[in-house]
Every structure is written in C-alpha cells, then in structure tokens.
Symmetry: C2
C-alpha cells in the first residue's frame, strides 16, 4: 500500500491528519504540484482527474478522494471512531463534515483559487466568484460560531473528521488572507484548541514550508 500525497496541499493533509489521529503509518510518495507532477502521464494513470491524494493498493488498484481514503481506514481501523458510532451519530458526523466542506472549505477554496496569484495561469480565474466566496464565508463563520457554542468540537464532544475538514480549511484560508474574526469567540477557541493537536501541528503547512 502506498499513498501519493502532497504535503502542502489541503486535501492530502486531511488524510494525513486522519492517519495520525488513528496512529496508522502508510508509506508515502510526494507529488510536487508546483512541478505539475500530478499531471504527468504516470500519475494520470492513477487518477485521471490529476488530483492528490491517491491510495495505491498492493493489487495495483487505486482509491482517490480524501474522504473516501479516510473512510477506508475507518473501516480497517475503527478506533478511535472519526466518523461516529452507530447510525444516528454517523449521520450527524456526515452532516457536519459536509457542512464544513460546502460552507467552509468550499468557500475558502473558491476564494483562494479564484483570487490568489498562485492560480493565475493555472486555472481560469473568475475574480467576482472568489469575492462572493469570501463574503459568503464571512456569513458562514458567524453561523458556525453560534452552532458550536458550548461544545468542544464541530460535531459534538468528540473530535471527528468534521474538525479535520474545518481546521484544514481555515489553515488554507490564511494563504488567502482569511482570518477567523476575534469577535467569534467560540470559533476562535475551537481553532486554537484543534490547532494544538499533534496531528494538526505536525502537518501544518507553515511548518512544512519553513
């Protein structure tokens, strides 16, 4: 088994944090996105969409999509549960992970991709869409601050994949000059606590690029 990953990119980081929380070690191969190694023919054979991460199995088959890879490891290593336990809790974690993807990570990514110079020439940028994402994200941060009042983690009292998605999103946001406003006390407190976890510290893009 081998994990093709890019240690500075947000989606691969979700898997790396997940594995660290589970205590699982998987051999990795670093794909250099700056050199567009993800678009090399041998990589496109693994994932024709040219995206990292990709998990290669010993039978030569592949699995793409960060959350699909996480879910695979949840199945093979159930403890600690990061997708919840039992039908209702698993559904609640799914809801919160999706909300973090669509409301937070999606808007951060939209803002980053459509407004940041890094993407100029790499993708077709629509600045007005990036600006819309930034404004939407501001509303969503205020909503999220209210939702998590009185609880330790995004989906309740347990750290889950929803926290992984959210912290990865906010860390990516820093690149696009997105900050959690200090006035959002619950979100600020959550971000500080989750950012101090060993799995999050050891995979920090700031640390990796230093």
């Amino acid at each position: 088994m081998k994990l093709y990953t890019s240690s500075l990119a947000p989606n691969p980081r979700r898997v790396t944090i997940f594995l660290a929380e589970k205590g699982i070690t998987v051999p990795t191969v670093e794909i250099d996105l700056a050199k567009k190694e993800n678009l090399f023919p041998e990589f496109l054979r693994r994932n024709p969409l040219g995206r990292v991460p990709v998990l290669e199995f010993d039978d030569g088959s592949y699995l793409a999509e960060s959350v699909a890879i996480c879910r695979y490891f949840e199945g093979t290593h159930p403890e600690p549960p990061l997708f919840g336990r039992g039908a209702r809790e698993q559904a609640d974690v799914e809801m919160w992970n999706r909300r973090m993807e669509y409301e937070v990570l999606g808007n951060v990514t939209g803002c980053f991709r459509h407004t940041h110079p890094y993407w100029k020439g790499r993708i077709e940028q629509v600045g007005a869409y990036g600006d819309l994402c930034r404004r939407t994200l501001e509303e969503r941060m205020a909503w999220l601050d209210g939702e998590i009042a009185g609880r330790s983690f995004i989906a309740g009292e347990r750290f889950t994949v929803a926290d992984i998605t959210a912290v990865t999103a906010f860390d990516l946001g820093r690149v696009a000059r997105i900050r959690i406003p200090e006035t959002l006390a619950n979100l600020t407190k959550w971000y500080a606590a989750v950012s101090a976890r060993p799995s999050v510290v050891s995979t920090s893009p700031a640390r990796k690029s230093a």
Copy 2:
C-alpha cells in the same frame, strides 16, 4: 419522524430516490421554495442554513444534508446496500459519489444557479463562473463516459448512491439546457437505463411539475 422536502428540488430528490430504492416510507412535509418557505423562521429553526431536506426525529432533533439523511437510513435499513458493503467497496462508492458531486452535480448546480433566470434576484449571480462550470462539465462528461465503459453503474455492477447523485444532476441539467452528448455512448446508455428505474421515474421533476 418527518421529512421536510421539496419535490422539485434536486437534493431532496436524492433522498426520495434513496428511500424508494430501500422501500422505506417516511411522512413528508412539502416546503415551497418558490414561496421561500425554507427561509421562514419556523423552518430556520430546523436548519439555520435554510436548506431542504431536513429529517425531524421524534425527540425533536433534526438532521440536515441529503447524504447524511441517506446514510442514516443505510444504517437503519442496510438492504439493499446503496453505500457498498465492506471497507473497500464502501470507500469506492464514497469516491464515486464524491466525484459525481464535485465533478457533475457541482458543475451543473454552478451553471444553473449562476446563469438561469430563476436565480436572478435570489442569489448574487456570477455569469462567468456559470459559463466556466458548463465548460468544465463538458470535459467531465467525456471523462465519465470513459470511466464507466463496460460497467452497468457509476461505481461498478451495483446501483448505488453515486447513480442517484448523477441522475439527479443530469436531470437538473436539463433545466439549464445541459444534455449528455449522443457521442458519449456509455453515458447515454447509463442515463437511459437509470432513468427507467421506478424510483427515478416516480420522482422525476418533469412528471412532478406536469
């Protein structure tokens, strides 16, 4: 238990198809999106994001997000499995469902919301982004056509939640004048076959609005 839904909207339809495939009946309450009932205070109490569907439990708690609701019912009614069986198959279904969400439904929705007159005045439209989604979708349809060559369904030989996401997306696409090109023979064949399933026929927006 009660399902707040809107029978003409794509995300609620995913849940309705899922329930029909499972043979589960849940009492429903229709939320009229044209009348903005999803933004009425009593609805926002159920889901502050103002989105349908929402599942209300008998203890007064709520579950939002279509796939979270589907996953809840997969847990309580495992047969037939629509999220796969076992760690690897479940991961593969997750990958394909996410690919259908991000590559197909996401681009259809982006095109529909940012270019269709229905959304004018309802959201801030960025036409250039909608056009980009339309062009991206054309590429993704060609990619998908190649991926499903020689198999019956999106994720393999079994009908899964990935097929539900994809058929719902392509049906929504019709509203935005998106069609699967006839030259994409595999995708055309898959679409015809899946569109004939009773769960898909009975929830068709064309039939509902007639």
